[in-house]
């Protein structure tokens, strides 16, 4: 579980996050949504420890990030998996080597054990045939699956995804969403997804945090989002013609 308490983050004079407080529960798919520039990526980077908040606290399973020593922060990093928007695969390594990488860096397992574990995870994301291919030789959807495999290979407690289905066709996007959702349940991970894709919200949004101009404008589940009267949320959700039609159908 991740608990955020009154988080503030500024860059110079510009205040990006303004007192965000929320909780992301274990074994649930939590989504941070909002328009571009609403502070989603900054919040995610604060959760990952890539940015230091100016004020506020982030608790990982009741352990505050601010009071952790260097070793505890390093250990925490190893309990995190991250799927980047552009996959961020190491392009000089094959698919198998990419997935083996965290194990080679941080475990004392021998080469055979590392390979076996990596192959199991690759098989779990249904990519067995691509083991020896380079990231440039596989499709965007397959790259996302490799990124997911690399993120979960160390059995993380926390999984962070930055727009995991951006640049993918709707069908592949659903496959990726469902894969993340299944893995969240299977491994009991606290998953936090940064997205502005309403399909993801509808499919897997068990907990949704809506940000507007760096402020928490609304939170709830995918079931609540269509019932809310919050203007900021309705403006965002019904900005597309498709969802306007869905609403008309519901009403």
């Amino acid at each position: 579980m991740i608990e955020i308490k009154s988080l503030y983050k500024s860059f110079g004079e510009v205040e990006i996050l303004k007192g965000i407080s929320t909780t992301f529960e274990k074994g649930k798919t939590n989504l941070i949504i909002g328009q571009s520039g609403s502070g989603k990526t900054v919040l995610l980077k604060c959760l990952l420890g890539l940015l230091i908040p100016n004020k506020g606290e982030i608790m990982y399973d009741n352990m505050s990030h601010t009071v952790m020593n260097t070793q505890e922060k390093t250990n925490l990093r190893r309990e995190m998996g991250m799927v980047f928007q552009g996959s961020a695969l190491f392009d000089s390594m094959t698919v198998l080597e990419n997935v083996m990488f965290p194990l080679q860096m941080f475990t004392t397992q021998n080469k055979a054990e590392i390979k076996e574990r990596a192959e199991t995870v690759i098989e779990r994301v249904k990519l067995k045939d691509a083991n020896q291919k380079l990231p440039s030789e596989i499709s965007g959807g397959m790259q996302k699956r490799v990124a997911i495999a690399r993120a979960i290979v160390m059995n993380p407690k926390y999984l962070f995804c930055d727009e995991p289905n951006s640049g993918l066709d709707p069908k592949t996007a659903i496959v990726i969403d469902n894969l993340i959702h299944e893995l969240t349940k299977e491994y009991e991970i606290t998953t936090v997804i940064n997205s502005h894709d309403m399909n993801s919200v509808m499919e897997i949004g068990e907990k949704i945090l809506f940000l507007k101009n760096g402020v928490k404008a609304w939170e709830g589940s995918n079931k609540d989002i269509f019932k809310t009267e919050n203007k900021a949320v309705t403006d965002f959700v019904y900005s597309s013609e498709l969802f306007k039609k869905v609403r008309a159908l519901y009403q």
């Binding site: 990952l48 190893r78 995190m80 980047f84 552009g86 961020a88 190491f90």
Partner: protein
């Protein structure tokens, strides 16, 4: 003020190179890859340039000696001094700032823009140690490249002199041996080692801290080449003043 910020950040980066080290087995593989890319991959261009520049130096020297009072062995002497003292260590390093430096900046810069460096950081890897330390170690083999440049530069000079008929082989070899001071070799290798560190770290700095997209990777490579060259020239002056003056 901006330049002071860059200098400060460069030294802070160097301070992080040895912290939170990458596992030895992984580091060994990275060093071997970098030796292959930075050292072995440069041998061809170094050999080609050294041979022909050595030839040009000897031809220019021979063509500028009009007086019959100047001995013929001066061509070999001038070629040796030019190649050993300046051409091989300094000017070859400036060429390498373009070849090796651009490669380092663009490869690290591409990792930055494609979030690969962020991925390393999120995993808890010290990305500065992972990316820059193997390059510094690989560049310790750079004196080997310069040795080849020295040998081929003088060899090219000898070939050009003999085949163009400017002097005899024995005159040229006599010139090479004339007033030989072994400290000049020490001076050349001291310079080379310092330049190898500059060649590994300044381009790494420009790649690591770059911001933007593909266009900025290209710009960072150019800026890196300019600054690496400037630093090499300034450091060359300082070392020469300290060791030879």
């Amino acid at each position: 003020m901006k330049i002071l910020e860059h200098i400060g950040r460069y030294f802070m980066m160097l301070g992080l190179v040895l912290k939170k080290r990458t596992k030895t087995s992984v580091m060994r593989r990275l060093i071997i890859n970098d030796i292959n890319d930075l050292i072995l991959g440069s041998l061809g261009i170094v050999a080609f340039l050294s041979f022909f520049v050595g030839g040009v130096v000897s031809i220019q020297t021979a063509l500028n000696i009009d007086s019959p009072l100047i001995p013929k062995n001066i061509v070999g002497f001038a070629t040796r001094q030019s190649v050993l003292l300046e051409f091989a260590p300094t000017f070859m390093s400036i060429i390498m700032a373009g070849k090796v430096g651009s490669f380092i900046t663009s490869s690290i810069g591409t990792m930055r823009v494609t979030e690969q460096i962020d991925a390393l950081e999120v995993m808890g890897v010290n990305s500065i140690n992972y990316l820059i330390f193997p390059k510094i170690i690989a560049m310790l083999f750079y004196p080997f490249v310069i040795t080849i440049a020295m040998f081929l530069g003088i060899f090219g000079g000898w070939m050009a002199t003999i085949y163009a008929g400017f002097s005899s082989s024995s005159d040229f070899i006599d010139g090479i041996q004339l007033d030989f001071n072994s400290f000049h070799i020490t001076y050349a290798y001291v310079k080379t080692l310092v330049f190898s560190f500059i060649l590994a770290t300044i381009p790494s700095y420009h790649g690591y801290y770059m911001k933007g997209g593909a266009l900025e990777v290209g710009k960072a490579s150019t800026v890196s080449f300019v600054w690496t060259s400037i630093v090499i020239i300034v450091v060359n002056y300082i070392i020469t003043q300290l060791l030879l003056a």
